[in-house]
Structure formats: C-alpha cells, structure tokens
Symmetry: C2
C-alpha cells in the first residue's frame, strides 16, 4: 500500500529488477499494439480527429505511472468516456469545429481538477452514489448507443442522433444509400474481430502454440485487421471507389496545449465533466482493485483520484481528451506480465513512436474498420442478464437499473446517470423512511421486553414502550412522529411513553427536533416522554443539545428500570 502523502513511485522503483523490466517491456509492446487502433477508434467515437486519441495515450500514461497506485491499470481513452465526451462537447459545439476540440480539452481539464479535488478533500465516497445497478444500466445503454452510432460508418451512410430513438430512424431512412464496398470491409472486419475474440486462441493452440502466447496473439486481432484493411484499400484503390478513410494524421509528438479559458463554456461543461470524472473513477477503481487482488496487492482509492486527476490534466495540456483506466487493456497488460507502472510509461513511448513514425501509414485506414473495432469492443460490455438477475434479487435495485438504462437510451448519457442516482438514492431513503418500530411488553417472570405482536407479554395501560430498530435521521424522523402519535391516539389512559433506544446508533438534528416536537405534543396531552438504553455516543451528542434539559421524563439505563419506576 502506498504511504499517504508521498509519491507511490519510489516503492516499486526500489525493487525494480531485470524480471520486472522484462515483464513490463513485454506488456508494453502488446498494449501498444492494442492501443493504436483503440485510441484512433475511441477518438472517432468522441467526435474528435484520430490523432487526439494518440495524444491522449502518451503523456497521461506517463503521469499516471508517477501518481497512480495501481501497478497494472492501463490508462487512456475508453469507450464509455468517449461517448460521454461526444455528448458533452456536442452540446456546446459542432463536431469538427475548433470549439469542439476546445471543449474536449476543457472536459479533460475540468474532470482532472474535479478528480484532484475529490482526492485532496477525500471525497471519493461521492462515487458511491453510482450504485452497481446504475453503473450496469449505464454501461449497457452506452454500449448500445455506441454500437448503434457506429453502424453508419459500417454502412457508409450519413446518419445522426445522440439517442437511440433518433439514431434508429435516421439509420433506417438512409439504409437505401448503403455503400456496398464500405459495408463489405466493415462486415469482414467485424466478422474477423468477433472470430478472433472467441476462436483465434483455440485455433492457435490447435496449431500447437502455447496457451499464453496464443491468448496474447489473439489480442492483436484489431491490429491485424487494421494492417490488412490498409493494404486492401491501397492495393484495390478503394478510396477512389468511395470508401471513407482516416486520411491525414498530423505526424509528431503531441503539442503543448492550453485549454481555453471561457467561463461560459466551463460552466456549461461542469456537470458533464463531473459525471465523466465519477464514471471514469468508478470504472478505473473497479478494474484496478480486481487486478490488485489477484496478486494480493491493494490500491488506495483516494490516491487513485490523484493519479487519474493528474492523468486528465496531462491530457488537457497535451492535446488529448478525458482518459481513464480501461478494462480490456488493463487485463491484457496484467496477463502480458506487467509488474509495475513502468509498463504504462513504456506504452507511452510506444504510442509516441507510433505518432512520429506510423501516422503516414494510417492514411488509408478505412473508417469502417475503426467502427467495427468499436462495435465489437463495446458489445462485450452490454450485460442484459443483469436485468433479470437484479429483478429476481431486488425490485428497487431493478428500478434504478431500468431507469438508468431507459433514460440513457432515450434522453442521453448525463440525464441517464442522474436519473439512476436520483432513483437509487430516493429508493434507499424510502426504505429508510419506514423504520421498524415495535410496541414492547415485559416477558412475564423476566426483565426482558419483546414485541407485543409476536410474544405473549405484559403491558401496563398507562405506559407505552416503543423499540425503534433503526438510527434516527431526517428520512425517518417524521415517520417516528407519526407512529408515536398514532399509538398515543388509541390509548386514552396513557401517561408515559418510553422509547427504547438500544438499536439507535445515531440521532441527527432532524430526528432530535422531531423528538422534541413529539415530547411537546405528548406534554400537551399530559403524557411524559422517557428514553431507555441510550448508547454512549448518542448520549454524548444529546448532551450538546437542550433536549435532556427539557425532557419531560427521564433517561433510564434499562427498560426494566423504566417500568419499575413508572408503574403506578
């Protein structure tokens, strides 16, 4: 574990040896090969020039290696964050315009600052608002949106829309204009990618290749498709026959960029940047924790915020766009033997070399191949089984998942997440707002008290014992008021109410005011309010208020003492 307050780097550097260097180097080569088509494709998904994807895969990786705590996380452009970038930048500028590029930089800057602030002020818990059902619904919806949005590139047609209900009619309307050579390339690429995901490893193993090497080679499917399609386009002169290609990619290392200071744009992009930061953080931490656990390492979520925040700032200042830890890439990095964050830095060198030397070769890369790469990658993310599993387990979690899924598909990514968070928080508070309150009576011959509805117990008409099985806070404060009042309204002989607080771990200011209100209402009706079995920390807190001084009754150590003292 990293020592808080210091860079985590020295720790892994101290033990750095030949073995680590070999592992990191091997992993870096594999991840670089995987990352080149991914970075180009995800930039296209984000509505940005392909080179922005390469830029986002250089400096951010080096910076994460210095500040992050995961030893194997592969930071860079990822699909879902690219979609969110497209939605956010598209809301303030036209894709292709200089303002759109500026918006992407601002998003990286803002989400970097937000992540850093969350790290410095220990606000990582905010990410907990994104419950698993919300994330699951969001990822599934996003992958559908992404795949649907890429179909136009596969078909070689012009279609638009940011939500499923706009993309689909637009696609259907243009279906007649499908460009057959493009479709052929796209279909071939998709078919090969699907095959390579599933069958290339068994096929290579059948050719007597060792399992490990076969698995790694199978990961190079996307780069093989890229190479083959470039050769095909050049050899068959397909560009002249209307197949869209990536075209000119500026050659060289990323320029130093300064995100535009435009307060209106910053404010407009702030909500989206916050969501990008949260989603990126949640995905990253989840991957990093899973990988760390495999080697009995651990990561520090608060430090991860710093690492990801710095990586995004690096993206903002080197012509990139928001980055985070990618799932598939990190797994490859781990499997290929990465031992330390140095693997990430070496990957950056690899992408840097590619930016300097390979970009001219990518001129003839068909856009349809990038689309196929994206579609195959994201369809693995969609998890429809989660709908059924969650429905069986809990209806309220299902509601949060469904709300996120439907809203994301039909209205948009930001609204989708926010609707999901709102639904899950509301349902949680709804459950908390109906605390279990039991009327308790004395078990004959003992000093124990039990629920009158479940046990044969003794009650005294002038005394009402209530056990509250929940901490008291604003969500259930009024419910407690109502329960007590309804209980009192049915008992004309009542003189004393004793609240048994054995299960109450805390009382917030709302609940305290409710208790005071209840006390005064009871007083108006000639009834005194007592407490019993109040826990130490709760009692300490109550002593900072006037409640105990105004209390019309007493605080009893045990409920039995209360009964003994109050019985007429």
């Amino acid at each position: 574990m990293a020592t808080s307050g210091r860079l985590p780097m020295p720790e892994w550097m101290r033990g750095y040896d030949r073995h680590a260097l070999l592992g990191d180097g091997m992993a870096a080569v594999i991840v670089t090969i995987m990352l080149i088509p991914q970075s180009l494709a995800y930039a296209m998904l984000a509505g940005l020039p392909p080179v922005v994807g390469l830029y986002a895969s250089i400096l951010p990786l080096v910076v994460y290696a210095l500040f992050g705590t995961s030893r194997t996380l592969s930071v860079g452009p990822v699909a879902v964050v690219s979609l969110m970038t497209a939605a956010a930048a598209g809301a303030v500028a036209t894709p292709g315009s200089p303002e759109y590029l500026a918006a992407a930089l601002v998003l990286a800057l803002l989400s970097g600052v937000i992540l850093l602030a969350m790290g410095v002020f220990r606000l990582g818990f905010v990410a907990n608002l994104l419950s698993h059902p919300v994330i699951s619904g969001f990822i599934t919806a996003s992958s559908l949106l992404i795949a649907a949005g890429q179909l136009k590139h596969l078909l070689g047609i012009d279609a638009g829309g940011q939500t499923l209900i706009r993309i689909l009619p637009s696609l259907l309307g243009q279906l007649g204009a499908t460009h057959l050579p493009t479709l052929a390339i796209g279909a071939l690429a998709t078919g090969f990618l699907l095959w390579s995901r599933r069958w290339m490893k068994p096929a290579l193993m059948a050719l007597r290749m060792p399992a490990g090497a076969a698995a790694l080679l199978a990961r190079t499917g996307p780069v093989m498709v890229v190479a083959a399609s470039i050769l095909a386009v050049r050899g068959l002169d397909l560009q002249a026959r209307g197949v869209a290609v990536v075209g000119d990619i500026p050659q060289g290392l990323p320029p130093l960029s300064l995100p535009a200071f435009d307060p209106t744009m910053w404010i407009a992009l702030l909500p989206a940047a916050t969501l990008i930061a949260l989603v990126g953080f949640v995905e990253s931490v989840s991957v990093a924790q899973t990988l760390a656990a495999k080697r009995r390492q651990s990561i520090n979520p608060d430090r991860e915020l710093i690492g990801l925040g710095m990586a995004n700032l690096a993206a903002a200042f080197s012509g990139g766009y928001p980055v985070t830890g990618g799932f598939a890439r990190s797994v490859v990095n781990f499997d290929a033997g990465a031992q330390t964050p140095a693997a990430g830095a070496m990957t950056a060198v690899g992408i840097g070399l590619a930016s300097v030397f390979l970009t001219p070769l990518l001129y003839h890369l068909p856009v349809a191949v990038l689309a196929a790469t994206i579609i195959v990658a994201v369809l693995g993310l969609a998890d429809f089984g989660a709908l059924a599993r969650t429905w069986r387990y809990s209806r309220s979690d299902f509601a949060a998942l469904a709300a996120t899924l439907v809203t994301t598909l039909c209205i948009g990514v930001e609204t989708g997440i926010m609707a999901g968070v709102a639904v899950s928080v509301l349902l949680h508070l709804w459950a908390a707002s109906r605390p279990h309150v039991a009327v308790i009576g004395l078990v004959p011959g003992t000093q124990h008290f039990r629920n009158v509805q479940r046990h044969d117990v003794q009650c005294t008409p002038s005394i009402l014992g209530l056990r509250i099985d929940e901490s008291l806070f604003f969500a259930n404060a009024r419910a407690i008021e109502t329960v007590i009042q309804q209980q009192v309204a049915t008992r004309p002989e009542l003189r004393h109410v004793v609240l048994n607080c054995a299960a109450v771990n805390s009382i917030d200011a709302s609940a305290l005011e409710s208790l005071e209100l209840v006390m005064h209402r009871l007083q108006d009706a000639g009834i005194r309010l007592h407490l019993s079995e109040v826990k130490g920390p709760v009692m300490d807190r109550l002593q900072h208020s006037d409640f105990l001084r105004h209390l019309t009754g007493q605080v009893f150590l045990s409920h039995y003492q209360a009964l003994t003292a109050l019985v007429p």
Copy 2:
C-alpha cells in the same frame, strides 16, 4: 383517524352539534378578519394583484374542508409559498403581465397535481428529503428575503432584486428618494403591529378583559391597522400626496379560470411547482400534527397530500395561486375554538362576502401597510438561534442548514432548497459510507467474539473474522471491498475470511455484487469467503440470487461454529 379510501368528512359531520357550530363559527369570524389583510399582502408579495389573494382564500378552503384530515388547519396564501411563487413566475414572465398571472395559476395546478400524485402513489416520504436543518435555513433565509423585499414599499421607493445581494444595493441606491409620508405610515403601522403582537394582550388584560378574549382581539391588530390607515388616507387625502394605495380591486366572487396549456411554460415551472408542493406539504403537516396532538387527534399525512392537492387545484381553477396550511392562522383558528373543517368552509364564506362587499373600501389601503403586515409576520419566522443550536449538536446538520441559508439568500429560493437537500443527502451517505467494521477474535473460554482492538481475544492466522456493524448498500459497498482487501493484504497466511452478519439488516444489489467481487478476488488469492449469523430476511433475499451457489465457503449459524469447522 380517517378511514383510508373514503372522504374524511362524514366522520366529523356525524357528531356535528351546536357546540361544534358555535366553535367553528367563532373561529371563522376571527380567521376571516385575520385573513383579509394577509391574503392581500401575500398576493402582493407574490407579485400578483391583491384580489388573487382573496380568490385563493375562498374555494381552496372549501375543498380542503372536504378532503383534508386536519380539523383545524387554516389553508390559504402563506408567506414562504408566496415568495416561491414570485421567484418561479418571475423567471418566466414580467410581474403585472397576463403571462405572470397565468404562471401563478399553472404553479397552483402543477403543485396540486404533484401533491395528488404523491398522495395516490404514497410518495409522501419524498418530503422527508427536506430535513429540519434545511427547512429551518430555508424559512429563515426566506423571511429575510421577504422582509428586505418589502422595505421598498415601506420607504415608497423603486427598488428591485430577488436575492439579498441584489436587493440591498438597490435599496441603498434609492434611499435618497424615500417618500416621507409613506415612510411615516409604514413606520407607524410596523410599530403598532409589533406592539400588538407583544403587548396588546397584556394591555387589554390590564383593562380587565378576560385572557381569551384579549388574546383573540390582539390578533386583530392587522385589521385595525388596515381600517385606520384607510381612514387616514381618505381623510388626509394622502393619495394625492404620493402615498401608493392598493387601488381598484375587482368586486365579486372568483371567476372560473382554466390554467393555460403551454407545455414550454409547464416544463419550465415544474421544478418550482415540485418544491412549492414539498415545502407547502411539510409546513402544513407539521402545523396540523402539532395542533392535532393537542387534542389527542391524529392526521394522515398521505390523506393530507390529497387534501392540499385538491385545494391547489381549486386555487388553479378559481383565479388563485398556490396555497397551503398557514402556521399563525391555524393556531388562531385552533385557539378561537374551531372544532371541525367546517370552520374553514365558513371562513371561505367570510372571505367571499368580503370580496363581494368590502373590496371598494380597500381602494385607499396604503401599500406600505400591507408591507408592514408582511414584515412583522415573517420576522417571527426567522430563527437565528437554530444556527448556534445546530452547530453545537452536529456539524454536518449545521453544514446543511448553512448551505441552505446562504444559497437561498445569495442565489435564490429553488437553488437554496436543492443545495440544502443535496448537502444533507450527501452528508448522510458520507456517514453511511464509512461503516464500522471490526476484526473479531474469540474471548478465551467462551463462544463469544469481540473486537481485537478493545479486548484480549484469540485469533488464528489462517482465519479472519470481520463483523460489519451496518446494513450493506451502495453507499458502503465499496468501502467493505476496500476494508476486506486491505485486511487480506497484510495477512500472508490467510485461508478463510468469515463475515459476521449479525448487525446486517439488509444487503442491496450493489453490496451483493461487491461481496461477489470480494469473493472472486479472495478466490484468486486462494482464500475462501464464509458468512456467519445471517438474519432470516437477508438469507431469503440471498436465496433469490446466485451468490450462495457460487459461495466459495459456507454459511454458518454462529461465528463459533465457523471457527470450529475451519480451524486447521
């Protein structure tokens, strides 16, 4: 208590007798006298013509009498809701324009529909989101905003602004233009109202009037000021000397109105209408419950939603604006002897008669007197002591209160409430996101397990016992992951983790997925996960998932059994 699903009216009508009629009639007379100046003043505060206040005090009262469950709540225009109406309508239209009036009707309609929907779908718990500190901060900030906003009428100057930071400079800039006759009237009215609130009752009692009658007569202070000021303006011809008066008020009963169907406006007003509905409901229920308790009656919050919703619909269809139960008026109604909701219906008749016969007399009523009525009424609502009390009791509740207060004063009423809700929900989730998790060991010679940090207990290096003292849900799911992972990372000999679930009342889908993740991570590290002392309902829920089938370890009835079975 009202029987669910039927109108509550028959219950109180069955026992209706001479005594109830007398009580209700007396209360109706007093409340009518109090309500006439209030309804005019609050309409002015809402930026509406004075007659709208009268209209909002007729049909809504009759409808509430039919649908509400409180016997003594006095429904009608209130200060805080009037301020919220002004803020919301002012955001979509210019005060004085027909669109502004239309917006007020739409607000009444929408908040009526929202209240009804909340009642029908039992969503009253949503009001719990408004914690006591948020309401307290909001009411204090609103009363300051209202008082500051009325000062211009007291000074006879033109000033504007919806937030304190705009109102104050605007006032100061115009201070030189103060209209002295207006200021004289305003100051006299304010002085008399303050005196009558505090000293009129003792003064009347010193004149040997019985305490009850003196208290009720003291409540008529505002109507005395109204009458005296009208006479003064007419007698001294102050209108000619520049004193602003109310002017023409249309004579007659409220017209039937149909709120404009303008989807753009409806959507724009929806958030404000929701907040108006929630704030109105919370205030109403709080007053109604306090009054019901005094007579050992109770109210039904879900039915109150229906009652208030219908009252607001009635306001929307009879030229009014959003209404709710008013605190001061309800107390007067109660003290004056109201026995049943019929008192409210009789008050409506009183206001109806006033609308038909009295409006010409109100022509010369100075605006400054209405402003004085408002200022004196709202200053009683501000509670600065709550700041200190809440600070002493709980810093996180103080944060919610302060955030609401400052945001409401500086940005606006809607943002203020939402900021407060966001802060209180976040702070609650923050607290819940750090559950108490104890490493437990066996107390020698017993079958009991205790925290290793507090007790001298036995531990086995290959077995880790963890007790989680909290229900597991999305806010703390990831914290549990991290805690377990950190504990495991420091114990190289570990083979078994046993989670003691005695204090876990529920596990939501997020926590379940976290447990599964933890289980797989532990499995990757060669460690098995076991559960002990799982509660019945939690076990039932788990059986609807695959968790138990995949569980790498066992579920033990007691933690001691786990130890016995697992010890090597």
